[in-house]
């Protein structure tokens, strides 16, 4: 008997600090698997954000940096320019990337920085207790939109893949989800591609994961995945936006 599925070497033997059923752990595992499969563990480094995944720097089995809120793409830029022989990824949530970090992500993407950005979108701020995010859906209730997100007052959710797709430089942009087995399998392919393109020095790669927040949505882990499938996927459409490596732009 042999192990056919097991904890990747690129993850340390440390329990994650995420809520039960939160899909952050799946995203971490996909990234770790891709790093293992491509033999990159000795050359890999990453940047953890501020948000639920602030402790991501503890979870990966290589050197990591923790960055100020929203600044991960800038920190990663500095890291890659300082150690071009290493490969860098950032891992960010919707507040980190689409609120305070909007300038940093747009400009890192626009410069075509050699990095992979993994963006977890769960339409809410998890770590600080369930406030509205730039990706919160219309009429969605959060602790800072207690009457529902009023689009007349504060506009609509931001679709980051679409936004970045207007830029010339980015090499690969895809939106995937972690909401079902087939979706996770597709997400793994996207992660592998992003890491591989990064390894090959092709430029800026971006994967957005539509994910859940059971705790702050007030749903259990299984219900949250259903809720996200019904409510988030119509607005945040899954699919490939561009892949310069396959002529599909």
């Amino acid at each position: 008997m042999e192990k056919i599925a097991y904890r990747p070497e690129s993850l340390r033997d440390v329990p994650f600090t995420y809520c039960p059923g939160c899909m952050h752990g799946v995203a971490h595992r996909l990234i770790a698997e891709a790093i293992d499969e491509q033999g990159l563990i000795n050359l890999m480094t990453g940047v953890a954000p501020v948000g639920c995944s602030v402790f991501a720097y503890k979870f990966f089995n290589f050197d990591m940096a923790q960055a100020a809120h929203g600044r991960a793409p800038a920190v990663a830029t500095g890291m890659k320019r300082a150690r071009p022989d290493m490969h860098v990824f950032t891992y960010q949530g919707d507040g980190d990337l689409a609120a305070i970090g909007t300038a940093e992500i747009v400009h890192a993407a626009n410069r075509g920085e050699q990095m992979s950005v993994f963006f977890v979108n769960n339409a809410i701020y998890g770590m600080t207790g369930g406030q509205m995010a730039p990706t919160t859906l219309p009429d969605m209730k959060t602790t800072t939109s207690p009457y529902g997100r009023d689009t007349d007052d504060i506009g609509f959710p931001i679709r980051v893949c679409e936004l970045l797709d207007t830029l010339v430089a980015p090499y690969y942009i895809e939106r995937v989800s972690l909401l079902s087995t087939p979706d996770i399998i597709k997400a793994k392919r996207a992660v592998s591609k992003a890491i591989q393109y990064n390894k090959e020095g092709r430029g800026f790669t971006f994967v957005e994961f539509v994910s859940t927040c059971p705790t702050n949505w007030g749903l259990d882990p299984v219900q949250s995945r259903e809720w996200a499938r019904e409510n988030m996927l119509p607005f945040f459409k899954l699919g490939l936006f561009r892949d310069k490596g396959e002529g599909a732009e």
Binding site: N42, V47, M64, A74, R81, A82
Partner: protein, 361 residues
């Protein structure tokens, strides 16, 4: 090595490159745009990285990333841009990352104007960013000193794993004076420097290495661990206070009736006034702090000679280093202050007038 006539902004850039800086991230802002432009021209010539960031916020975070990889890295800005970097400076200090930040100060607060000032002293030496930390702060008063401080700053940053700020101003940045540069570090020397921090920085795992897991981080969610971390930081700062105070004594003697204290550009004007009054038989001494953090408190106290009746502080602000002078003097002698704001530099005549008033009292 021959002397070159050079603008301060360009001299510091040239000196930084010679000191082995191969990464520079910044945003244009008057009165230091010549610095970033010089770097844009010269960094590629030494195969370094020049990157104009989208903001000063982004630039300081790029510095954080590069410093986390153990390499010599610099940014520069002017007062409003330094405010934008405040968060980054706190993070750099908390994560103990070596780097150099040049502040070419201008009139403030807010957008202010583009003329020289010294209004960022509090920001540099007492905080700026949040939390308990210190920046090592060097305050040049000539273009030569400005250039010399490049290697001093990088060496201090590496020695203590701390951000170092060079507090210049628009006058120093813009004016041209003769500069003699130290010889440039060779590629081999820079390569060695780049590997001095491998006990903590981000770098590849070599084949056969015990896999290392280094964390470039300032978060410590366990209060007991954070407490110990801050205590350790302050042990480091105590060591810096012990070893890195630096000042200049100008015309100090037992005959001094007034002791002036001034830093940076202001000190040059005060020197001129002192010289004029010396020619008229008045004995006035000056202590010029060269490092404004750690601050030379004892040097000032010691310089209060037997005949000193007045300590006079002159700054291009509303009285910031003044507080440190009062701490140094400990009420032994009255401390007076006179300053100019609005980005205006006082003249020797104005200083002379203020000093003469003391003799009339």
């Amino acid at each position: 090595m021959s002397k070159i006539l050079m603008k301060g902004n360009e001299a510091i850039a040239e000196a930084a490159i010679r000191s082995g800086c191969r990464l520079y991230f910044a945003y244009p802002i008057t009165p230091q745009s010549e610095l970033i432009e010089y770097m844009a021209r010269m960094m590629p010539k030494v195969n370094g990285t020049f990157l104009q960031a989208e903001s000063e916020v982004s630039a300081i975070n790029m510095v954080y990333g590069a410093a986390g990889c153990g390499k010599r890295v610099m940014t520069s800005s002017s007062s409003p841009g330094i405010s934008l970097k405040a968060e980054g400076l706190s993070y750099l200090a908390g994560a103990q990352l070596p780097c150099v930040i040049v502040n070419v100060q201008r009139g403030g607060p807010g957008l202010g104007d583009i003329q020289p000032a010294q209004g960022d002293y509090f920001q540099a030496t007492k905080g700026g960013g949040h939390g308990d930390y210190r920046l090592i702060c060097l305050a040049p008063s000539s273009v030569q000193e400005f250039a010399d401080m490049a290697s001093e700053a990088f060496d201090l940053a590496d020695k203590y794993r701390n951000p170092v700020m060079i507090l210049a101003d628009g006058m120093l940045g813009q004016m041209m004076e003769p500069v003699e540069f130290k010889p440039a570090l060779t590629d081999e020397e820079i390569e060695e420097l780049g590997e001095q921090h491998t006990d903590w920085c981000i770098h590849p795992n070599q084949d056969g290495d015990l896999k290392h897991h280094h964390e470039i981080n300032s978060l410590e969610i366990d209060p007991l661990v954070l407490e110990q971390h801050v205590i350790n930081l302050y042990k480091k700062y105590a060591e810096i206070e012990e070893n890195e105070q630096r000042h200049e004594e100008y015309n100090i003697s037992d005959d001094n009736e007034i002791l002036c204290v001034a830093w940076g550009t202001a000190s040059r004007v005060v020197k001129s006034a002192i010289n004029e009054l010396k020619a008229e038989g008045k004995s006035i001494g000056m202590i010029r702090p060269i490092n404004v953090w750690p601050y030379p408190y004892e040097a000032i106290a010691k310089a209060i000679g037997p005949n000193v009746k007045q300590v006079y502080v002159f700054e291009l602000n509303t009285g910031q280093m003044l507080d440190d002078v009062k701490i140094a003097v400990e009420g032994k002698v009255p401390v007076k202050f006179w300053g100019k704001v609005g980005g205006i530099v006082f003249t020797p005549a104005e200083i002379k007038e203020k000093l003469e008033e003391c003799f009339k009292e």
